[in-house]
């Protein structure tokens, strides 16, 4: 009774086979239907999450947010969609037409593709491919390619520069993400996301690897290009970055991809580190697991929106420094710590959880010391420059 997903799938299978279809063919057909359903749901879900996000951000900023169309403005996104649907799709002169047109589709594809391996419930997942984690990395990066194509084909130097900056940022932040993904793989002994969720039945990985969780979360927010990492398309400061020449729903697709990606990384964080559908009674009643999954994803998504509502945009050199000088070394250290500690704890027969927590605490302390040293040297440099500028000779020299 608690498992409507396999119930429906089996019922459909029986029904279609009853029509005289071949079993193998029917299975493939069902997969096709499932994929179509998943893609459609993913795209339609945006109508809701965009509204949700606008509403929450508005509340954080002490505004009302959308409140005209429907109760609480819930149909605002539908109205926006209809408006965009009537906007002319421009292709700028001198643009590389074909590349220009397929770029947003590629971006959406890379995000929708991520959903294939996410286990929503014990019996509800697209597919359990044994290289799931690496799949996330490689398919997610195809979006980078789409952004680059958008910038290259627009025949606009600002689109080109925006695209290259975005690509540089996405490539940079993919590095700590890959490193962070190594840790759950190691702890679960598998790259399949279904296996990773099952390995968290006794203990969520966030307890074993809090530092890694944070690295993954931050780098995936950067990968999406969300605030506070949205400086490359900061609409209040520069024009729009790589999608400056896009209009109508061509632009809308970039928009959809970004919001869908934000939701997807919440789902992935919940899956990889917060136990996915794990919870009391989830094994017996998969529908309960699905609800747990939704609650966890919703909470993580709320944190993503919270980040967006509260953090100021960071500067581009800070963005760069944060990645290469903090997240990547920390990610490398976290992988090494986890690898050594887990094996060592197993050999010495020590408590796994305690050892991991101790290792992470040590990592945090070391990081704090390194940050203090870094901040001191930076302050010293700044003071040196300031005292240089304040010298009387310098001031009078400038007046001559």
């Amino acid at each position: 009774m608690g498992d409507p997903f396999s119930l429906i799938a089996n019922w459909l299978l029986d029904l279609l086979v009853g029509f005289g279809l071949e079993l193998e063919f029917t299975k493939v057909l069902l997969k096709f239907l499932g994929a179509g359903l998943m893609g459609t749901v993913a795209m339609l879900l945006m109508l809701f999450t965009i509204w949700l996000e606008r509403k929450i951000v508005a509340r954080i900023q002490d505004r009302l947010g959308p409140n005209r169309v429907g109760p609480y403005g819930i149909f605002q996104t539908v109205a926006d969609l209809l408006k965009l649907l009537t906007k002319e799709v421009l292709v700028p002169s001198g643009a590389d037409r074909f590349v220009f047109i397929i770029a947003p589709m590629l971006v959406v594809m890379s995000v929708v593709g991520l959903w294939a391996v996410v286990p929503f419930a014990p019996t509800l997942f697209g597919t359990d491919v044994n290289v799931g984690v690496l799949y996330l990395v490689s398919i997610g990066s195809i979006g980078t390619l789409g952004i680059m194509m958008a910038g290259l084909s627009s025949n606009n130097k600002f689109a080109l520069l925006g695209a290259f900056r975005t690509v540089a940022m996405m490539l940079s932040y993919a590095v700590p993400m890959i490193l962070a993904l190594l840790v759950p793989t190691m702890l679960a002994g598998s790259m399949g996301l279904v296996d990773i969720v099952e390995a968290q039945s006794s203990m969520w990985f966030v307890v074993l690897a809090p530092v890694t969780t944070l690295i993954f979360f931050i780098s995936s927010i950067a990968e999406v290009g969300r605030a506070p990492f949205d400086l490359l398309e900061a609409d209040s400061e520069i024009v729009a970055g790589f999608h400056i020449e896009y209009s109508g729903l061509s632009f809308g697709m970039f928009f959809v991809a970004e919001f869908l990606h934000a939701f997807t990384i919440s789902a992935l964080t919940a899956t990889l580190f917060f136990g996915g559908w794990q919870g009391p009674g989830a094994e017996a009643y998969p529908i309960l697991g699905f609800i747990y999954f939704l609650i966890k994803t919703g909470l993580v998504y709320f944190v993503v929106i919270w980040f967006r509502g509260t953090f100021p945009r960071i500067r581009i050199d800070q963005l760069n420094t944060l990645n290469w000088k903090l997240l990547v070394p920390l990610g490398l250290a976290a992988v090494v710590f986890t690898a050594v500690i887990d094996k060592w704890a197993a050999e010495q027969d020590l408590s796994r959880v305690l050892m991991h927590l101790a290792g992470n605490a040590l990592l945090v302390v070391l990081t704090l010391f390194a940050l203090r040293a870094y901040a001191r040297s930076a302050r010293k440099k700044e003071e040196a420059i300031r005292s240089e500028l304040m010298k009387p000779s310098h001031v009078s020299g400038a007046g001559d």
């Binding site: 799709v89 421009l90 397929i102 947003p104 959903w115 597919t127 490193l179 729903l249």
Partner: protein, 118 residues
């Protein structure tokens, strides 16, 4: 062995076709009156100066390069991480050595100032 991939083989084209259909709808519904000024490059109303293909700076290459190296590193390390439970301590340490050698490369790039945004 092919079975897990069939779903992906369907989902990726669907993820491509859905936005394509939406944009197609947009094209059918929306007016189409192109003119020269509307189609010109948008630079906040200022006339475009010079050619589009501005010279990019070499820094982008460095970031792509470091990403490439770490990507390959991941290719070697993910199987190692999958087999982690079945490895002995010295095998784990070999993987750690692999990471440390590459961390040396990162350190070099750092010292050379290749990681600065200029």
């Amino acid at each position: 062995m092919h079975e897990p991939w069939i779903f992906i083989a369907f989902l990726l084209p669907i993820g491509f076709i859905l936005p394509a259909v939406t944009i197609l709808f947009n094209r059918l519904l929306a007016p189409r009156r192109p003119n020269k000024i509307k189609d010109s490059t948008y630079e906040c109303g200022i006339e475009t100066v010079g050619e589009t293909w501005v010279q990019l700076k070499g820094q982008y290459y460095i970031f792509g390069l470091i990403f490439l190296i770490f990507d390959i590193e991941a290719v070697f390390l993910f199987p190692w991480a999958v087999a982690y439970d079945k490895l002995q301590l010295y095998m784990v340490l070999e993987g750690v050595l692999f990471i440390l050698i590459l961390a040396g490369g990162l350190l070099y790039a750092w010292r050379r100032g290749a990681l600065e945004w200029v």
